[in-house]
């Protein structure tokens, strides 16, 4: 699955790697559970009471539908690239962002996976620098890829370690 081309944030000569498409069902499932399910449940009082009570399920279900449609686009927009000295991450459909994190600035790496993500064998890798501003997380990497990236980042961070 190629990442969606994104002319504004494409840097010349950078080969973007997509993340695992399995993140799409993971995110969709959690949206279905936390938004869709309450939407369905609130239909019952709406049926009983009528009229005005329909607003709640309508809003919830509309939001669910919109997110279910949006998530594949969002996930496809996420890409990363390992350059010689920096890790590049880009994301976003409406609000796009691109982060460049030098390996030498890395303080530590997190690999995290929720229960649904674990079932789907994906994990998120997050790089932490001394700055709170650098939001360098890559969600939805296959477990092997996450482990490889974690080790790679650690090794490269060590090789290029810089002071603060």
């Amino acid at each position: 699955m190629p990442t969606t081309p994104n002319p504004a944030l494409d840097i010349e000569g950078v080969q973007w790697r997509p993340i695992s498409p399995r993140l799409i069902p993971v995110r969709q499932i959690s949206v279905a559970i936390f938004l869709g399910l309450p939407g369905l449940v609130t239909i019952w009082p709406a049926v009983v009471v009528g009229s005005a009570m329909w607003i709640l399920p309508a809003v919830l279900l509309a939001l669910t539908a919109w997110l279910l449609w949006l998530i594949p686009r969002q996930v496809r927009s996420i890409g990363y690239a390992e350059l010689e000295d920096d890790l590049l991450i880009r994301r976003g459909v409406m609000f796009r962002s691109l982060v460049v994190v030098p390996y030498g600035r890395m303080q530590y790496v997190d690999v995290e996976a929720g229960p649904i993500a674990r079932k789907m064998k994906i994990a998120a890798v997050q790089l932490h620098t001394a700055s709170a501003g650098s939001d360098a997380s890559i969600p939805g990497l296959g477990e092997d890829e996450a482990a490889r990236l974690r080790d790679q980042l650690t090794a490269r961070g060590e090789a290029r370690l810089a002071g603060l």
Partner: protein
């Protein structure tokens, strides 16, 4: 960590000064008394006692509170010891919950000698050593005698700088590291501090609110409005007083140990910021200061969280000429042959003077007032971000201090083909960001700054900024900078897996301005 453990055996453990419990006791006592009054104020009011007995009760509470405070402080003092090894400083403390804190000296960000009012009156001081672990990542030794605190500070800084202090052979008191020669650069007059506060937004708002309240009270013949907003007014008074007392007698000096900042009316503070610890500098000007041409200088230092306010101030009120001198202390090389003109354009200029790149004309209906002001400039050594037309702001980030870089754009930005560029710095008062830059330019900027930061990191000086400092170099370092030709003899064991530091001589330590070939001549900023 084996080296560290080896170091611990040669630590000479010392105790804090005996006076510590007395100086600390009043805090515990005050807390106890406050709690007592809070809890029993109603009961006390109902007690129908003669005045003498009532006073006796109060005195009794104070005495008991003080004794408990003293006892606890004495216990805490007896369980506290600190030590110094060639690599680290140690503090073991705690009564119920024991804490052992070891701080690596090459990670020291700043060293403060603080004297709260009481300690100051009796000639004692506390020493605070800040490391880069975020808020609360410091090691505080309180209290020591003033001389001891200064001696320890000199020793710590000398060791952190990589100067080896030869231990006495008989295991006795180590010879004191010579105090680094110091030269005063600027001192703030009380008049200007008062003037700056008078022209601050908060005081204006405060005076205005007060006037309105008095008018209201007179018109309504009641004091209710004043009582209603009393707490808010008190807060404003406390803020202004805090600024005044904290920034009173502000002095900046330079020494080979770094920039030394002294401040404080009641509680005095002497902070030393070693070279290369400043992550970003911000020069800002509230609207009302423009008539006087005053600027406020703030810095980001790793280890101070965003909530640290006084420590982040490099100078509270500076004239434009003084801004140049202060910037020279923390970033001697702006990477431009005409630094003063560059600074002038950055501080108050608009448009493309001195190589600034601004927002494109097409965003003028969005930023009708600021689009010609918002801009950036990248030099060989720093990235300069210029923003704000009403509240002018200039942010300078050395390339070797940028953590990571970011570009972002929203739907509106995309339609206008612009993007926002941010440099990620350590937490602090400064957030370097410049908005609405032409998308292509912003992308090129990102690539350019990333590349320069990479080179700057590679060429950055070691964290121990003076390796080794010979007596001659120290003497030559009387001015703003140590002798740049004092090439380090050894890098051994300083940094884990150090990259090859090809360039060190020829630049000021810690300011790895390796892109410039020639040594930075002192006084460049002064013209």
């Amino acid at each position: 960590m084996s080296a560290d453990r080896a170091g611990e055996s040669q630590v000479d453990w010392r105790k804090l000064h005996r006076i510590t419990p007395l100086l600390n006791a009043w805090k515990v006592a005050a807390a106890l008394i406050a709690i007592f009054v809070w809890q029993y104020s109603d009961t006390l009011g109902q007690l129908d006692l003669p005045t003498t007995q009532f006073l006796l009760v109060i005195i009794g509470v104070i005495v008991v509170g003080s004794l408990i405070g003293l006892g606890y402080s004495a216990l805490a003092w007896s369980r506290t010891r600190y030590g110094l090894s060639p690599e680290s400083v140690y503090l073991h403390s705690g009564v119920l919950f024991r804490q052992q804190r070891h701080l690596r000296l090459d990670r020291v960000q700043t060293v403060d000698v603080t004297q709260p009012l009481l300690a100051r009156l009796f000639g004692f001081a506390s020493l605070k050593i800040e490391s880069a672990g975020g808020a609360g990542s410091n090691l505080t030794l309180s209290f020591l005698t003033e001389d001891e605190a200064q001696r320890l500070r000199n020793e710590l800084l000398a060791r952190a700088a990589g100067v080896t202090v030869s231990e006495a052979a008989d295991g006795g008191q180590a010879p004191a590291a010579p105090a680094a020669p110091e030269r005063e650069v600027l001192a703030l007059t009380p008049g200007r501090l008062i003037g700056s506060l008078a022209l601050s937004f908060w005081l204006m708002a405060f005076v205005l609110a007060g006037a309105v309240l008095i008018v209201l009270a007179v018109v309504n013949q009641s004091l209710a409005p004043i009582f209603g907003v009393g707490p808010a007014l008190l807060g404003a008074v406390a803020y202004v007083w805090g600024r005044f007392a904290g920034e009173f007698a502000f002095r900046v000096a330079t020494s080979p140990d770094g920039v030394r900042v002294r401040q404080g009316l009641l509680e005095s503070k002497a902070r030393t910021v070693p070279p290369g610890r400043v992550q970003a500098v911000q020069v800002s000007q509230p609207l009302l200061w423009r008539t006087r041409g005053w600027w406020r200088l703030q810095v980001n230092i790793a280890g101070y969280g965003a909530e640290e306010t006084t420590g982040s101030v490099l100078y509270p009120v500076a004239t434009t000429e003084e801004v140049g001198r202060l910037l020279y202390l923390v970033q001697p090389d702006l990477g431009d042959p005409r630094p003063l003109q560059l600074l002038e354009a950055g501080l108050s200029g608009t448009g493309g003077d001195e190589g600034f790149v601004t927002s494109p004309r097409r965003v003028r209906w969005l930023d009708w007032w600021t689009w010609r002001r918002t801009g950036f400039r990248v030099t060989d050594t720093v990235t300069i971000l210029r923003t704000g037309r009403v509240w002018r702001r200039l942010v300078i980030v050395p390339h070797e201090r940028t953590q990571s870089l970011g570009l972002s754009e929203g739907p509106l930005d995309r339609r206008l083909r612009v993007a926002n560029f941010s440099l990620h710095s350590t937490p602090g008062p400064i957030t370097p960001i410049v908005t609405h830059i032409d998308a292509d330019v912003a992308r090129a900027l990102l690539v350019d700054v990333a590349d320069r930061a990479r080179r700057a990191r590679r060429d950055a000086g070691p964290e121990q900024w003076m390796l080794p400092r010979t007596a001659a170099a120290a003497a030559a370092a009387d001015g703003a900078a140590p002798d740049p030709t004092a090439a380090p003899a050894t890098f051994g064991g300083i940094l884990p897996s150090p990259p090859v530091r090809a360039v060190y001589g020829g630049v000021l330590p810690g300011h790895g301005a390796a892109v410039t070939d020639e040594p930075v001549e002192g006084g460049r900023m002064h013209g």
